[in-house]
Symmetry: C2
Subunit: 294 residues, 2 copies
Protein backbone atom coordinates (compact mmCIF):
# COMPACT_ATOMS: atom_id res chain seq x y z
CA UNK A 1 0.00 0.00 0.00
CA UNK A 2 2.61 2.58 0.99
CA UNK A 3 4.40 1.93 -2.32
CA UNK A 4 1.20 2.53 -4.25
CA UNK A 5 0.51 5.71 -2.28
CA UNK A 6 4.05 7.00 -2.66
CA UNK A 7 3.99 6.32 -6.41
CA UNK A 8 0.66 8.12 -6.92
CA UNK A 9 1.70 11.01 -4.68
CA UNK A 10 4.94 11.33 -6.64
CA UNK A 11 3.11 11.23 -9.94
CA UNK A 12 0.65 13.84 -8.68
CA UNK A 13 3.33 16.23 -7.37
CA UNK A 14 5.16 15.97 -10.66
CA UNK A 15 2.00 16.76 -12.63
CA UNK A 16 0.90 19.79 -10.57
CA UNK A 17 4.46 21.09 -10.26
CA UNK A 18 4.58 21.29 -14.06
CA UNK A 19 0.98 22.43 -14.42
CA UNK A 20 0.90 25.34 -11.96
CA UNK A 21 2.00 28.65 -13.49
CA UNK A 22 5.69 29.45 -13.26
CA UNK A 23 6.83 31.76 -10.47
CA UNK A 24 9.18 33.45 -12.91
CA UNK A 25 6.27 34.54 -15.06
CA UNK A 26 4.09 37.60 -14.33
CA UNK A 27 2.12 38.05 -12.16
CA UNK A 28 4.87 36.49 -10.07
CA UNK A 29 3.53 37.10 -6.59
CA UNK A 30 0.20 35.50 -7.48
CA UNK A 31 1.91 32.53 -9.13
CA UNK A 32 4.21 32.12 -6.13
CA UNK A 33 1.23 32.15 -3.77
CA UNK A 34 -0.65 29.57 -5.85
CA UNK A 35 2.34 27.25 -5.79
CA UNK A 36 2.80 27.85 -2.06
CA UNK A 37 -0.86 26.96 -1.47
CA UNK A 38 -0.76 23.72 -3.45
CA UNK A 39 2.82 22.44 -3.25
CA UNK A 40 2.95 22.24 0.52
CA UNK A 41 3.13 18.57 1.32
CA UNK A 42 -0.53 17.84 1.87
CA UNK A 43 -1.57 14.20 2.23
CA UNK A 44 -3.33 14.34 -1.16
CA UNK A 45 -6.28 12.29 0.08
CA UNK A 46 -8.53 13.52 -2.75
CA UNK A 47 -6.03 12.81 -5.54
CA UNK A 48 -5.42 9.34 -4.06
CA UNK A 49 -9.17 8.70 -4.16
CA UNK A 50 -9.24 9.85 -7.80
CA UNK A 51 -6.45 7.44 -8.73
CA UNK A 52 -7.93 4.54 -6.76
CA UNK A 53 -11.43 4.98 -8.22
CA UNK A 54 -9.99 5.58 -11.69
CA UNK A 55 -7.86 2.46 -11.55
CA UNK A 56 -10.91 0.52 -10.35
CA UNK A 57 -12.75 1.79 -13.45
CA UNK A 58 -9.87 1.05 -15.80
CA UNK A 59 -9.24 4.72 -16.64
CA UNK A 60 -6.06 5.83 -18.38
CA UNK A 61 -3.59 7.30 -15.89
CA UNK A 62 -3.10 10.35 -18.12
CA UNK A 63 -6.81 11.13 -17.72
CA UNK A 64 -6.58 10.88 -13.93
CA UNK A 65 -3.79 13.42 -13.40
CA UNK A 66 -5.90 16.44 -14.45
CA UNK A 67 -8.86 15.19 -12.41
CA UNK A 68 -6.65 14.75 -9.35
CA UNK A 69 -5.22 18.24 -9.93
CA UNK A 70 -8.68 19.79 -10.33
CA UNK A 71 -10.06 18.41 -7.05
CA UNK A 72 -6.87 19.34 -5.19
CA UNK A 73 -6.93 22.88 -6.64
CA UNK A 74 -10.49 23.29 -5.38
CA UNK A 75 -9.52 21.87 -1.99
CA UNK A 76 -6.47 24.16 -1.80
CA UNK A 77 -8.45 27.25 -2.79
CA UNK A 78 -11.03 26.50 -0.10
CA UNK A 79 -8.29 26.23 2.55
CA UNK A 80 -6.73 29.54 1.48
CA UNK A 81 -10.04 31.37 1.69
CA UNK A 82 -11.11 29.53 4.86
CA UNK A 83 -7.95 30.55 6.69
CA UNK A 84 -8.45 34.27 5.99
CA UNK A 85 -9.31 36.65 8.83
CA UNK A 86 -12.91 37.10 7.71
CA UNK A 87 -13.45 33.33 7.87
CA UNK A 88 -11.54 31.10 10.32
CA UNK A 89 -8.63 33.52 10.81
CA UNK A 90 -5.93 30.88 11.04
CA UNK A 91 -2.19 31.39 10.78
CA UNK A 92 -0.94 27.81 10.46
CA UNK A 93 -1.60 25.25 7.73
CA UNK A 94 0.36 22.08 7.09
CA UNK A 95 3.02 23.39 9.47
CA UNK A 96 3.58 26.62 7.57
CA UNK A 97 2.15 30.17 7.74
CA UNK A 98 -1.15 30.40 5.88
CA UNK A 99 -1.18 32.20 2.52
CA UNK A 100 -2.52 35.51 3.80
CA UNK A 101 0.23 35.51 6.45
CA UNK A 102 3.05 34.49 4.13
CA UNK A 103 1.82 36.89 1.41
CA UNK A 104 -1.10 39.24 2.15
CA UNK A 105 -4.89 39.10 2.30
CA UNK A 106 -5.55 40.47 -1.17
CA UNK A 107 -3.13 37.97 -2.69
CA UNK A 108 -4.76 35.17 -0.70
CA UNK A 109 -8.16 36.13 -2.07
CA UNK A 110 -6.87 36.17 -5.66
CA UNK A 111 -4.94 32.94 -5.09
CA UNK A 112 -8.13 31.13 -4.17
CA UNK A 113 -10.03 32.69 -7.06
CA UNK A 114 -7.32 31.81 -9.57
CA UNK A 115 -6.97 28.23 -8.26
CA UNK A 116 -10.68 27.68 -8.81
CA UNK A 117 -10.34 28.90 -12.40
CA UNK A 118 -7.32 26.61 -12.85
CA UNK A 119 -9.34 23.66 -11.58
CA UNK A 120 -11.88 24.05 -14.35
CA UNK A 121 -9.22 24.85 -16.92
CA UNK A 122 -7.25 21.69 -16.22
CA UNK A 123 -10.45 19.65 -16.66
CA UNK A 124 -11.40 21.48 -19.85
CA UNK A 125 -7.96 20.59 -21.24
CA UNK A 126 -7.94 16.97 -20.02
CA UNK A 127 -7.20 14.21 -22.54
CA UNK A 128 -10.71 12.74 -22.41
CA UNK A 129 -13.71 12.64 -24.74
CA UNK A 130 -15.63 15.92 -24.68
CA UNK A 131 -18.72 14.22 -23.21
CA UNK A 132 -16.58 12.85 -20.39
CA UNK A 133 -15.01 16.26 -19.82
CA UNK A 134 -18.41 17.92 -19.58
CA UNK A 135 -19.58 15.28 -17.06
CA UNK A 136 -16.44 15.83 -14.97
CA UNK A 137 -16.92 19.61 -14.96
CA UNK A 138 -20.57 19.26 -13.99
CA UNK A 139 -19.59 16.99 -11.11
CA UNK A 140 -16.87 19.33 -9.82
CA UNK A 141 -18.98 22.48 -10.18
CA UNK A 142 -21.84 20.82 -8.32
CA UNK A 143 -19.56 19.60 -5.55
CA UNK A 144 -17.99 23.06 -5.15
CA UNK A 145 -21.12 25.20 -5.25
CA UNK A 146 -23.99 26.05 -2.98
CA UNK A 147 -25.22 22.47 -2.66
CA UNK A 148 -21.66 21.34 -1.99
CA UNK A 149 -18.57 22.88 -0.46
CA UNK A 150 -19.51 26.58 -0.47
CA UNK A 151 -22.98 25.78 0.83
CA UNK A 152 -21.57 23.67 3.64
CA UNK A 153 -19.24 26.47 4.62
CA UNK A 154 -22.15 28.90 4.69
CA UNK A 155 -24.03 26.57 7.05
CA UNK A 156 -20.86 26.21 9.12
CA UNK A 157 -20.59 30.01 9.45
CA UNK A 158 -24.19 30.28 10.57
CA UNK A 159 -23.64 27.49 13.11
CA UNK A 160 -20.99 29.20 15.24
CA UNK A 161 -22.34 29.41 18.77
CA UNK A 162 -25.51 27.53 17.77
CA UNK A 163 -26.46 24.04 18.80
CA UNK A 164 -26.91 21.35 16.16
CA UNK A 165 -28.13 17.81 16.37
CA UNK A 166 -26.27 14.94 14.72
CA UNK A 167 -28.52 15.02 11.62
CA UNK A 168 -27.91 18.75 11.02
CA UNK A 169 -24.21 18.24 11.54
CA UNK A 170 -24.23 15.41 9.02
CA UNK A 171 -26.02 17.56 6.41
CA UNK A 172 -23.45 20.31 6.87
CA UNK A 173 -20.47 18.00 6.58
CA UNK A 174 -21.84 16.03 3.66
CA UNK A 175 -21.80 19.37 1.85
CA UNK A 176 -18.70 21.02 3.30
CA UNK A 177 -16.17 18.22 2.99
CA UNK A 178 -18.15 15.18 1.85
CA UNK A 179 -19.18 16.55 -1.55
CA UNK A 180 -15.63 17.08 -2.81
CA UNK A 181 -14.39 13.75 -1.43
CA UNK A 182 -17.36 12.06 -3.08
CA UNK A 183 -16.65 13.88 -6.36
CA UNK A 184 -13.04 12.68 -6.23
CA UNK A 185 -14.35 9.13 -6.31
CA UNK A 186 -17.14 9.60 -8.85
CA UNK A 187 -14.93 11.66 -11.17
CA UNK A 188 -12.19 9.05 -11.08
CA UNK A 189 -14.80 6.47 -12.05
CA UNK A 190 -16.23 8.70 -14.81
CA UNK A 191 -12.82 8.76 -16.48
CA UNK A 192 -13.07 5.00 -16.89
CA UNK A 193 -16.00 2.69 -17.32
CA UNK A 194 -18.20 1.28 -14.56
CA UNK A 195 -21.46 -0.66 -14.53
CA UNK A 196 -24.53 0.75 -12.82
CA UNK A 197 -24.01 -1.61 -9.90
CA UNK A 198 -20.38 -0.59 -9.63
CA UNK A 199 -21.27 3.11 -9.65
CA UNK A 200 -23.86 2.56 -6.92
CA UNK A 201 -21.32 0.70 -4.80
CA UNK A 202 -18.74 3.45 -5.33
CA UNK A 203 -21.27 6.10 -4.32
CA UNK A 204 -22.12 4.17 -1.17
CA UNK A 205 -18.41 3.82 -0.45
CA UNK A 206 -17.92 7.56 -1.13
CA UNK A 207 -20.72 8.60 1.22
CA UNK A 208 -19.26 6.51 4.05
CA UNK A 209 -15.69 7.65 3.48
CA UNK A 210 -16.67 11.32 3.10
CA UNK A 211 -18.47 11.40 6.41
CA UNK A 212 -15.83 9.29 8.19
CA UNK A 213 -13.18 11.75 7.03
CA UNK A 214 -14.93 14.63 8.78
CA UNK A 215 -15.61 12.72 11.99
CA UNK A 216 -11.93 11.84 12.19
CA UNK A 217 -11.06 15.49 11.48
CA UNK A 218 -13.21 16.54 14.41
CA UNK A 219 -11.62 13.86 16.63
CA UNK A 220 -8.13 14.96 15.68
CA UNK A 221 -8.95 18.62 16.26
CA UNK A 222 -10.06 17.69 19.78
CA UNK A 223 -7.29 15.28 20.78
CA UNK A 224 -4.16 15.95 18.71
CA UNK A 225 -1.67 18.79 19.09
CA UNK A 226 -1.02 21.56 16.56
CA UNK A 227 2.42 20.10 15.92
CA UNK A 228 0.93 16.71 15.06
CA UNK A 229 -1.70 18.25 12.78
CA UNK A 230 0.42 20.98 11.18
CA UNK A 231 -2.56 23.26 11.79
CA UNK A 232 -4.07 24.89 14.85
CA UNK A 233 -5.64 22.21 17.05
CA UNK A 234 -8.53 22.67 19.45
CA UNK A 235 -9.98 25.40 17.25
CA UNK A 236 -13.50 24.00 16.98
CA UNK A 237 -14.08 24.18 20.71
CA UNK A 238 -12.60 27.68 21.02
CA UNK A 239 -14.83 28.86 18.18
CA UNK A 240 -17.84 27.09 19.73
CA UNK A 241 -18.41 25.17 16.54
CA UNK A 242 -20.64 22.15 16.74
CA UNK A 243 -18.58 19.04 15.89
CA UNK A 244 -19.05 15.31 16.10
CA UNK A 245 -17.05 15.40 19.31
CA UNK A 246 -19.20 18.12 20.89
CA UNK A 247 -22.45 16.54 19.74
CA UNK A 248 -21.69 12.84 20.24
CA UNK A 249 -18.69 12.76 22.57
CA UNK A 250 -15.26 11.35 21.70
CA UNK A 251 -16.04 7.67 22.16
CA UNK A 252 -19.29 7.64 20.20
CA UNK A 253 -17.65 9.66 17.41
CA UNK A 254 -14.80 7.16 17.23
CA UNK A 255 -17.22 4.23 17.14
CA UNK A 256 -19.19 5.90 14.36
CA UNK A 257 -16.07 6.45 12.26
CA UNK A 258 -15.29 2.74 12.65
CA UNK A 259 -18.83 1.82 11.63
CA UNK A 260 -18.49 3.99 8.51
CA UNK A 261 -15.17 2.34 7.70
CA UNK A 262 -16.92 -1.02 7.87
CA UNK A 263 -19.71 0.35 5.65
CA UNK A 264 -17.18 1.47 3.07
CA UNK A 265 -15.67 -2.04 3.02
CA UNK A 266 -19.13 -3.59 2.80
CA UNK A 267 -19.94 -1.43 -0.23
CA UNK A 268 -16.82 -2.70 -1.97
CA UNK A 269 -17.46 -6.33 -0.91
CA UNK A 270 -20.96 -6.13 -2.37
CA UNK A 271 -19.35 -6.29 -5.80
CA UNK A 272 -18.33 -9.90 -5.12
CA UNK A 273 -15.02 -11.69 -4.89
CA UNK A 274 -14.20 -11.24 -8.60
CA UNK A 275 -13.99 -7.44 -8.07
CA UNK A 276 -11.74 -7.81 -5.04
CA UNK A 277 -8.44 -7.26 -6.77
CA UNK A 278 -9.79 -4.00 -8.25
CA UNK A 279 -11.13 -2.67 -4.94
CA UNK A 280 -8.03 -3.24 -2.80
CA UNK A 281 -6.73 0.33 -3.02
CA UNK A 282 -10.12 1.84 -2.24
CA UNK A 283 -10.42 -0.39 0.83
CA UNK A 284 -6.97 0.57 2.00
CA UNK A 285 -7.73 4.27 1.54
CA UNK A 286 -10.83 3.90 3.73
CA UNK A 287 -8.58 2.43 6.43
CA UNK A 288 -6.07 5.20 5.99
CA UNK A 289 -8.71 7.94 6.23
CA UNK A 290 -10.19 6.55 9.45
CA UNK A 291 -6.97 5.45 11.10
CA UNK A 292 -4.80 8.49 10.27
CA UNK A 293 -3.19 10.38 13.12
CA UNK A 294 -3.01 13.80 11.44
CA UNK B 1 -31.04 49.56 -30.85
CA UNK B 2 -32.68 50.33 -27.50
CA UNK B 3 -35.40 47.80 -28.33
CA UNK B 4 -32.82 45.14 -29.08
CA UNK B 5 -30.93 45.95 -25.87
CA UNK B 6 -34.08 45.99 -23.76
CA UNK B 7 -35.21 42.67 -25.23
CA UNK B 8 -31.86 40.98 -24.60
CA UNK B 9 -31.56 42.46 -21.11
CA UNK B 10 -35.07 41.24 -20.33
CA UNK B 11 -34.30 37.78 -21.64
CA UNK B 12 -31.10 37.69 -19.62
CA UNK B 13 -32.72 38.83 -16.37
CA UNK B 14 -35.41 36.20 -16.81
CA UNK B 15 -32.83 33.47 -17.38
CA UNK B 16 -30.57 34.31 -14.41
CA UNK B 17 -33.53 34.98 -12.13
CA UNK B 18 -34.66 31.40 -12.74
CA UNK B 19 -31.17 29.97 -12.77
CA UNK B 20 -29.76 31.44 -9.54
CA UNK B 21 -30.50 29.32 -6.47
CA UNK B 22 -33.72 30.11 -4.64
CA UNK B 23 -33.50 32.29 -1.54
CA UNK B 24 -36.02 30.04 0.17
CA UNK B 25 -33.68 27.09 -0.11
CA UNK B 26 -30.77 26.46 2.29
CA UNK B 27 -28.22 27.92 2.63
CA UNK B 28 -30.54 30.91 2.40
CA UNK B 29 -28.18 33.70 3.36
CA UNK B 30 -25.66 32.61 0.73
CA UNK B 31 -28.35 32.27 -1.91
CA UNK B 32 -29.76 35.70 -1.00
CA UNK B 33 -26.29 37.24 -1.30
CA UNK B 34 -25.69 35.61 -4.69
CA UNK B 35 -28.97 36.97 -6.01
CA UNK B 36 -28.21 40.39 -4.50
CA UNK B 37 -24.82 40.41 -6.23
CA UNK B 38 -26.17 39.48 -9.66
CA UNK B 39 -29.73 40.82 -9.81
CA UNK B 40 -28.82 44.43 -9.13
CA UNK B 41 -29.56 46.25 -12.34
CA UNK B 42 -26.14 46.17 -13.92
CA UNK B 43 -25.87 47.31 -17.52
CA UNK B 44 -25.17 43.72 -18.66
CA UNK B 45 -22.50 44.82 -21.13
CA UNK B 46 -20.93 41.36 -21.23
CA UNK B 47 -24.21 39.49 -21.79
CA UNK B 48 -25.10 41.98 -24.55
CA UNK B 49 -21.76 41.26 -26.22
CA UNK B 50 -22.47 37.52 -25.96
CA UNK B 51 -25.87 37.93 -27.62
CA UNK B 52 -24.56 40.27 -30.31
CA UNK B 53 -21.60 38.03 -31.21
CA UNK B 54 -23.77 34.92 -31.00
CA UNK B 55 -26.42 36.40 -33.29
CA UNK B 56 -23.66 37.42 -35.71
CA UNK B 57 -22.52 33.77 -35.71
CA UNK B 58 -26.04 32.38 -36.08
CA UNK B 59 -26.06 30.70 -32.67
CA UNK B 60 -29.29 29.45 -31.12
CA UNK B 61 -30.59 31.90 -28.52
CA UNK B 62 -31.00 29.05 -26.01
CA UNK B 63 -27.26 28.41 -26.25
CA UNK B 64 -26.46 32.08 -25.59
CA UNK B 65 -28.36 32.45 -22.31
CA UNK B 66 -26.04 30.16 -20.30
CA UNK B 67 -22.97 31.79 -21.86
CA UNK B 68 -24.27 35.25 -20.99
CA UNK B 69 -25.01 34.02 -17.46
CA UNK B 70 -21.55 32.47 -17.08
CA UNK B 71 -19.64 35.62 -18.03
CA UNK B 72 -21.89 37.78 -15.87
CA UNK B 73 -21.48 35.41 -12.89
CA UNK B 74 -17.70 35.71 -13.23
CA UNK B 75 -17.97 39.49 -13.55
CA UNK B 76 -20.27 39.68 -10.51
CA UNK B 77 -18.03 37.44 -8.40
CA UNK B 78 -15.02 39.62 -9.23
CA UNK B 79 -16.89 42.76 -8.14
CA UNK B 80 -17.95 41.16 -4.85
CA UNK B 81 -14.38 40.11 -4.02
CA UNK B 82 -12.89 43.37 -5.35
CA UNK B 83 -15.11 45.47 -3.12
CA UNK B 84 -14.03 43.67 0.06
CA UNK B 85 -11.92 45.47 2.66
CA UNK B 86 -8.77 43.51 1.83
CA UNK B 87 -9.03 44.61 -1.80
CA UNK B 88 -10.62 47.95 -2.82
CA UNK B 89 -12.67 48.36 0.36
CA UNK B 90 -15.70 49.88 -1.27
CA UNK B 91 -19.17 50.30 0.21
CA UNK B 92 -21.19 51.28 -2.86
CA UNK B 93 -21.89 49.33 -6.04
CA UNK B 94 -24.60 50.05 -8.59
CA UNK B 95 -26.13 52.48 -6.10
CA UNK B 96 -26.48 49.90 -3.31
CA UNK B 97 -24.33 48.75 -0.38
CA UNK B 98 -21.73 46.23 -1.51
CA UNK B 99 -22.27 42.58 -0.57
CA UNK B 100 -19.92 42.54 2.43
CA UNK B 101 -21.74 45.62 3.78
CA UNK B 102 -25.26 44.35 3.11
CA UNK B 103 -24.35 40.87 4.42
CA UNK B 104 -20.91 40.27 5.94
CA UNK B 105 -17.36 39.62 4.78
CA UNK B 106 -17.43 35.86 5.13
CA UNK B 107 -20.66 35.67 3.15
CA UNK B 108 -19.18 37.96 0.50
CA UNK B 109 -16.18 35.68 0.14
CA UNK B 110 -18.39 32.59 -0.23
CA UNK B 111 -20.74 34.44 -2.59
CA UNK B 112 -17.88 35.12 -4.98
CA UNK B 113 -16.59 31.57 -4.68
CA UNK B 114 -20.02 30.06 -5.30
CA UNK B 115 -20.74 32.37 -8.25
CA UNK B 116 -17.55 31.22 -9.93
CA UNK B 117 -18.61 27.59 -9.47
CA UNK B 118 -22.06 28.47 -10.86
CA UNK B 119 -20.45 30.07 -13.91
CA UNK B 120 -18.77 26.81 -14.87
CA UNK B 121 -21.81 24.76 -13.93
CA UNK B 122 -24.14 26.72 -16.18
CA UNK B 123 -21.71 26.21 -19.07
CA UNK B 124 -21.33 22.51 -18.34
CA UNK B 125 -25.12 22.19 -18.50
CA UNK B 126 -25.57 24.37 -21.60
CA UNK B 127 -27.57 22.95 -24.53
CA UNK B 128 -24.57 22.73 -26.86
CA UNK B 129 -22.46 19.93 -28.31
CA UNK B 130 -19.93 18.64 -25.78
CA UNK B 131 -17.00 19.84 -27.90
CA UNK B 132 -18.49 23.33 -27.97
CA UNK B 133 -19.07 23.22 -24.22
CA UNK B 134 -15.46 22.25 -23.58
CA UNK B 135 -14.23 25.10 -25.82
CA UNK B 136 -16.46 27.57 -23.96
CA UNK B 137 -15.20 26.41 -20.59
CA UNK B 138 -11.57 26.62 -21.71
CA UNK B 139 -12.18 30.16 -22.93
CA UNK B 140 -13.85 31.29 -19.70
CA UNK B 141 -11.29 29.61 -17.44
CA UNK B 142 -8.46 31.20 -19.39
CA UNK B 143 -10.08 34.64 -19.29
CA UNK B 144 -10.69 34.36 -15.52
CA UNK B 145 -7.33 32.99 -14.43
CA UNK B 146 -3.81 34.24 -13.93
CA UNK B 147 -3.34 35.31 -17.56
CA UNK B 148 -6.72 37.01 -17.46
CA UNK B 149 -8.85 38.68 -14.83
CA UNK B 150 -7.18 37.41 -11.63
CA UNK B 151 -3.75 38.11 -13.08
CA UNK B 152 -4.74 41.63 -14.05
CA UNK B 153 -6.03 42.25 -10.55
CA UNK B 154 -2.76 41.02 -9.09
CA UNK B 155 -0.84 43.47 -11.28
CA UNK B 156 -3.29 46.19 -10.28
CA UNK B 157 -2.64 45.47 -6.59
CA UNK B 158 1.09 45.69 -7.10
CA UNK B 159 0.68 48.97 -9.00
CA UNK B 160 -0.83 51.04 -6.19
CA UNK B 161 1.46 54.00 -5.60
CA UNK B 162 3.75 52.93 -8.46
CA UNK B 163 4.17 54.65 -11.77
CA UNK B 164 3.26 52.85 -14.98
CA UNK B 165 3.69 53.77 -18.60
CA UNK B 166 0.87 53.44 -21.12
CA UNK B 167 2.12 50.05 -22.34
CA UNK B 168 2.20 48.56 -18.82
CA UNK B 169 -1.24 49.98 -18.13
CA UNK B 170 -2.54 48.43 -21.33
CA UNK B 171 -1.13 45.01 -20.41
CA UNK B 172 -2.80 45.20 -17.01
CA UNK B 173 -6.17 46.22 -18.39
CA UNK B 174 -6.14 43.75 -21.25
CA UNK B 175 -5.95 41.13 -18.50
CA UNK B 176 -8.08 42.68 -15.78
CA UNK B 177 -11.15 43.71 -17.75
CA UNK B 178 -10.28 43.09 -21.39
CA UNK B 179 -9.98 39.32 -21.14
CA UNK B 180 -13.54 38.74 -19.93
CA UNK B 181 -15.03 41.24 -22.38
CA UNK B 182 -13.09 39.55 -25.16
CA UNK B 183 -14.27 36.13 -23.98
CA UNK B 184 -17.87 37.36 -24.04
CA UNK B 185 -17.46 38.00 -27.76
CA UNK B 186 -15.45 34.90 -28.65
CA UNK B 187 -17.71 32.62 -26.60
CA UNK B 188 -20.81 34.04 -28.24
CA UNK B 189 -19.22 33.29 -31.61
CA UNK B 190 -18.17 29.78 -30.53
CA UNK B 191 -21.81 28.93 -29.88
CA UNK B 192 -22.50 29.55 -33.55
CA UNK B 193 -20.38 29.18 -36.63
CA UNK B 194 -17.86 31.68 -37.95
CA UNK B 195 -15.22 31.56 -40.68
CA UNK B 196 -11.55 32.09 -39.86
CA UNK B 197 -11.73 35.61 -41.27
CA UNK B 198 -14.83 36.36 -39.24
CA UNK B 199 -13.21 35.10 -36.05
CA UNK B 200 -10.13 37.25 -36.70
CA UNK B 201 -12.33 40.30 -37.25
CA UNK B 202 -14.29 39.58 -34.07
CA UNK B 203 -11.06 39.24 -32.09
CA UNK B 204 -9.81 42.53 -33.46
CA UNK B 205 -13.16 44.12 -32.56
CA UNK B 206 -12.98 42.53 -29.09
CA UNK B 207 -9.49 43.83 -28.41
CA UNK B 208 -10.50 47.37 -29.32
CA UNK B 209 -13.76 47.28 -27.37
CA UNK B 210 -12.16 45.68 -24.30
CA UNK B 211 -9.52 48.38 -24.01
CA UNK B 212 -11.94 51.21 -24.84
CA UNK B 213 -14.22 50.00 -22.05
CA UNK B 214 -11.47 50.45 -19.47
CA UNK B 215 -10.35 53.84 -20.75
CA UNK B 216 -13.93 55.07 -20.48
CA UNK B 217 -14.14 53.56 -16.99
CA UNK B 218 -11.07 55.55 -15.98
CA UNK B 219 -12.51 58.71 -17.55
CA UNK B 220 -15.81 58.26 -15.75
CA UNK B 221 -14.08 57.59 -12.43
CA UNK B 222 -12.27 60.91 -12.85
CA UNK B 223 -15.09 63.10 -14.10
CA UNK B 224 -18.46 61.64 -13.05
CA UNK B 225 -20.07 61.74 -9.61
CA UNK B 226 -20.77 58.74 -7.37
CA UNK B 227 -24.50 59.29 -7.92
CA UNK B 228 -24.08 59.12 -11.69
CA UNK B 229 -21.92 56.00 -11.49
CA UNK B 230 -23.74 54.20 -8.70
CA UNK B 231 -20.30 53.47 -7.27
CA UNK B 232 -17.67 55.53 -5.49
CA UNK B 233 -16.18 58.02 -7.96
CA UNK B 234 -12.71 59.50 -7.82
CA UNK B 235 -11.37 56.37 -6.18
CA UNK B 236 -8.46 55.76 -8.53
CA UNK B 237 -6.82 59.05 -7.71
CA UNK B 238 -7.35 58.69 -3.96
CA UNK B 239 -5.84 55.21 -4.12
CA UNK B 240 -2.95 56.51 -6.26
CA UNK B 241 -3.74 53.95 -8.93
CA UNK B 242 -2.25 54.52 -12.33
CA UNK B 243 -5.09 55.04 -14.85
CA UNK B 244 -5.39 56.19 -18.42
CA UNK B 245 -6.36 59.59 -17.05
CA UNK B 246 -3.32 59.85 -14.78
CA UNK B 247 -0.93 58.51 -17.42
CA UNK B 248 -2.30 60.20 -20.56
CA UNK B 249 -4.48 63.02 -19.28
CA UNK B 250 -8.23 63.37 -19.83
CA UNK B 251 -8.16 64.66 -23.37
CA UNK B 252 -5.69 62.14 -24.75
CA UNK B 253 -7.58 59.33 -23.01
CA UNK B 254 -10.83 60.47 -24.58
CA UNK B 255 -9.22 60.68 -28.02
CA UNK B 256 -7.80 57.21 -27.60
CA UNK B 257 -11.18 55.77 -26.67
CA UNK B 258 -12.60 57.33 -29.84
CA UNK B 259 -9.78 55.86 -31.92
CA UNK B 260 -10.51 52.43 -30.47
CA UNK B 261 -14.21 52.84 -31.26
CA UNK B 262 -13.25 53.56 -34.86
CA UNK B 263 -10.97 50.50 -34.85
CA UNK B 264 -13.83 48.32 -33.65
CA UNK B 265 -16.00 49.59 -36.50
CA UNK B 266 -13.16 49.07 -38.99
CA UNK B 267 -12.79 45.47 -37.86
CA UNK B 268 -16.47 44.87 -38.56
CA UNK B 269 -16.37 46.75 -41.87
CA UNK B 270 -13.46 44.59 -43.00
CA UNK B 271 -15.97 41.77 -43.44
CA UNK B 272 -17.51 43.64 -46.38
CA UNK B 273 -20.95 45.06 -47.07
CA UNK B 274 -22.65 41.65 -47.21
CA UNK B 275 -21.86 41.12 -43.50
CA UNK B 276 -23.18 44.53 -42.55
CA UNK B 277 -26.64 43.46 -41.47
CA UNK B 278 -25.09 40.89 -39.15
CA UNK B 279 -22.61 43.31 -37.54
CA UNK B 280 -25.04 46.15 -36.76
CA UNK B 281 -25.54 45.21 -33.10
CA UNK B 282 -21.83 44.79 -32.47
CA UNK B 283 -21.17 48.23 -33.96
CA UNK B 284 -23.86 49.78 -31.85
CA UNK B 285 -22.49 48.15 -28.70
CA UNK B 286 -19.05 49.63 -29.44
CA UNK B 287 -20.70 53.05 -29.59
CA UNK B 288 -22.58 52.39 -26.38
CA UNK B 289 -19.45 51.28 -24.53
CA UNK B 290 -17.46 54.36 -25.52
CA UNK B 291 -20.24 56.91 -25.29
CA UNK B 292 -21.85 55.74 -22.03
CA UNK B 293 -22.15 58.22 -19.18
CA UNK B 294 -22.04 55.73 -16.30
Amino acid sequence: MSDWIAARQGRFEHFVEARLPDEEREPRRLHAAMRYAVLNGGKRVRPLLVYAAGEFAGAAEAALDPIAAAVEFVHAYSLVHDDMPCMDDDVLRRGKPTVHVAFDEATAMLTGDALQAEAFRVLAEAPVAAETGMALIRDLAQASGTQGMCGGQAIDLAAVGQSMNAAELETMHRMKTGALLRASITMGATAGCVSTAERAALEHYADAVGLAFQIVDDLLDAVATSAELGKTAGKDQRQSKPTYVSVLGTEAARRWSERLRAEAHDALSSLGPEAQSRTTRLGQLADLIVQRRS
